[in-house]
């Protein structure tokens, strides 16, 4: 099962390689990874999506906590949370196709962030399902390139 871990760490040189090394050294998988500073100075947040059964997830969480630079690990999968991903899509948009793509952009509430004679670059944010749906719809126009950010997630204020 896929898990989303929110890991706050000391913002020190090498902290990313400690986390990445832990995953590779112990045979765990990282699906996506996002790192950025938090509001608190000197503290960064890593949002990691990973796979594993219960026992592996327990080890991943414990091993992350064991790293001296780790402040806190929360498995957001067990909580109500908001999840967002972002994707830039370069798509063929020649002639009449362009209008149809723009209609899809509208429906998905994407943005066109770059225009050329025969291509558009679209910016889309949403959960993984929305991005997958968009990419599927754009497939027939010819998706030339995509670049995706790792997942961002935040615990909802109201938990049951």
């Amino acid at each position: 099962m896929r898990h989303i871990l929110s890991v706050t760490v000391e913002n020190e040189p090498g902290v990313l390689s400690r986390v990445a090394g832990l995953f590779s050294g112990r045979g765990f998988n990282i699906e996506t990874l996002n790192v950025a500073p938090t509001l608190e100075e000197g503290v960064s947040r890593m949002t990691i999506t990973t796979f594993g059964d219960e026992q592996i997830m327990e080890q991943i969480v414990k091993q992350l906590r064991k790293l001296i630079t780790t402040i806190k690990v929360v498995d957001l999968t067990e909580l109500k949370s908001i999840q967002r991903e972002m994707c830039l899509v370069k798509v063929n948009a020649e002639g009449e196709r362009r209008a149809e793509i723009l209609r899809i952009v509208d429906i998905f509430r994407c943005k066109v962030v770059d225009v050329s004679v025969d291509e558009l670059i679209l910016e889309v944010t949403g959960d993984a399902g929305k991005i997958a749906a968009l990419l599927q719809l754009l497939q027939r126009f010819g998706v030339k390139e995509i670049t995706r950010a790792g997942m961002l997630a935040m615990k909802r204020s109201m938990q049951e």
Partner: protein
């Protein structure tokens, strides 16, 4: 306030940490530290290879319980200690390592003797640091000692660029250390402790399975009290030997691949396993699915990652072993109604029966010297009062089986990593910590040649370590596997070109003896142990003797090959 250089700050900090001995090797990047060293009261031991220095720092730590300190230069000096760092890491030994580094402006430029030692050792240290500013140095050293010695201990490395060592600042050493990202949980959960006491009082066939954590937590007294009060038999991992007296009636001997018959049978029949400071390593459990099939598991460990890693545990307790066992003893004290002795008598009788039908044994009737006999002689002469180190392989297993350890910190061996070449420098480190004790390395002819150059160290520092080589002319443990599981295909395990170890010892200025007859073993060892200088005793033992019992890799503990 006076300004001190980085080099001075390092040495002042070591004084604050009450370090008395530094195990090191100088070089270009740390010449500034060595320039200051004569102004300080440290005993510095100069090795012949950096690997010797790191193993000695580790041996010092295992024997004394205090952190060992190792100082080496950048580049090859740093890479030469990686094996020793990994050895200490696997066995949770507190060592603080200082490596030189090229000046900060040159880092990343492939400078002379530059290596990214922080990157290289990230996965085999508890933590490591590159100090980039002399103003961070004192705090970093404080953190390094704090991390190395607290929680689950381990090696911590501090990388010191040359310019940081020559820059100056005021020296302020922190009095205490708090880190928001590091808070080991040491207090046991009260309810869980109550549950364990209850389980123990209801168990019919309980076994305590103790490990190296009991020694590092200095919890041996609590362990002995628990076992004796509740009349629970104790087995131990290789790393845990010495925490429980080897001559106690409740002692089962070591368990696992080369464990005793009674220990492995007891595990197999146990209805309760109380694991303390041990981690269910594969050499201990054999085939996991059949390990202690009838048992409820209690697991006390300071490291949460050790718990639920290999086996499912009914009662996990993350705590310092000493505190947990102390709390458990108090709880047991309240259970005045439990007739411990009567309750466990049948179980102890069963264990006694296993011990008598299949004791540790070897055939000593032939003309050849049996390696087991040599270890027994060492025990007879020292009565468990020596510090024993081992190399890795058959010598290590015989030292674990046939020497009886009565006190913690008297058995130094590379358990987790299995590092050949560990024993001799480790014995040097232990001898440096306890100059008046007898420090003996039980070695094989293969392993001893991995760090034999430290004979010069032992001689020049008057550290009268005794090396007893169980010389069979083979890489004996690998040969044993080849014999048993690879159709006697002795591929490259025969070491037929050997130095003359007696002449070698004499060449270094040490004493050397050769023993070829069984009746010479005891008198020669007696003589060797009485000499106040390093000695090599080259004992020519039976060449194809095997270590038994043996559980083949991946088999169940009950599938022991016996003599």
């Amino acid at each position: 306030m006076a300004q001190l250089t980085g080099a001075q700050i390092l040495l002042e900090s070591l004084l604050k940490e009450e370090v008395d001995t530094i195990f090191g090797y100088p070089g270009g990047a740390i010449i500034g530290i060595y320039h200051e060293l004569p102004n300080y009261p440290f005993k510095h031991i100069l090795f012949r290879h950096e690997q010797g220095a790191i193993h000695a720092a580790d041996g010092y730590a295992r024997a004394s319980g205090a952190p060992g300190v190792c100082l080496v230069t950048s580049g090859p000096g740093a890479t030469n200690i990686v094996t020793g760092i990994a050895t200490a890491y696997m066995d949770s030994i507190p060592v603080v390592i200082f490596t030189g580094q090229v000046p900060t402006p040159l880092i990343g430029n492939d400078a002379f003797q530059e290596v990214d030692i922080v990157g290289i050792t990230r996965s085999c240290t508890k933590h490591n640091y590159l100090v980039k500013d002399v103003r961070d140095l004192a705090k970093t050293i404080k953190q390094a000692f704090y991390l190395a010695t607290s929680g689950r201990p381990g090696p911590v490395l501090v990388d010191l660029p040359k310019d940081v060592l020559s820059d100056s600042t005021e020296f302020r050493y922190p009095k205490s250390m708090h880190m928001r990202s590091y808070n080991p949980h040491t207090e046991p959960h009260v309810k869980q402790i109550k549950k364990v006491a209850e389980l123990l009082s209801n168990a019919k066939t309980p076994v305590i399975y103790s490990g190296g954590g009991v020694i590092s937590a200095k919890a041996h007294k609590e362990l002995i009290e628990l076992a004796r009060t509740t009349q629970t038999p104790v087995t131990s991992t290789l790393m845990g030997l010495g925490a429980f007296p080897g001559n106690d009636p409740l002692w089962l001997g070591m368990l696992g691949m080369h464990g005793t018959y009674r220990a492995n049978m007891a595990i197999n029949s146990a209805d309760l396993i109380l694991a303390v400071g041990s981690r269910f390593d594969d050499r201990v459990t054999g085939k996991l699915s059949t390990f202690a099939p009838k048992a409820t598991f209690v697991h006390i460990d300071i490291d949460p990652t050790s718990i639920q890693k290999n086996v499912n545990v009914e009662v996990p307790i993350v705590a310092d072993c000493k505190k947990a066992l102390h709390a458990l003893n108090e709880e047991i004290g309240r259970l005045t109604d439990t007739p411990w002795k009567e309750k466990n008598q049948g179980w102890l009788d069963q264990i006694q029966a296993w011990a008598s039908t299949q004791p540790l044994q070897y055939d000593n009737t032939g003309p050849e010297i049996k390696p087991q006999y040599v270890v027994e002689c060492i025990y007879e002469l020292t009565k468990g009062d020596a510090i024993i180190s081992t190399e890795v392989g058959q010598n290590q297993m015989w030292a674990a089986q046939y020497y009886h350890y009565h006190k913690p910190n008297t058995f130094l061996t590379s358990g987790g990593l299995g590092t050949m070449g560990y024993g001799f420098p480790a014995a040097i480190g232990a001898q440096a910590a306890f100059p008046d004790k007898l420090a003996i390395d039980i070695a094989g002819d293969g392993s001893i040649q991995m760090n034999i150059q430290e004979m010069a160290t032992a001689v020049s520092h008057n550290l009268p370590v005794k090396i007893v080589i169980l010389n069979n002319g083979y890489l004996g443990m690998v040969r044993q596997w080849q014999e048993l599981f690879f159709n006697k295909n002795y591929s490259w395990t025969c070491m037929d070109a050997q130095p003359d170890f007696v002449m070698l010892a004499e060449a270094y200025g040490a004493a050397g003896y050769r023993v070829t007859q069984t009746e010479q073993v005891l008198p020669t060892l007696t003589q060797a142990f009485a000499i106040d200088k390093p000695v090599i005793v080259d004992v020519r033992v039976s060449r194809e003797e095997n270590v038994y019992p043996m559980v083949p890799a991946g088999a169940s503990l009950t599938e022991m090959l016996l003599i």
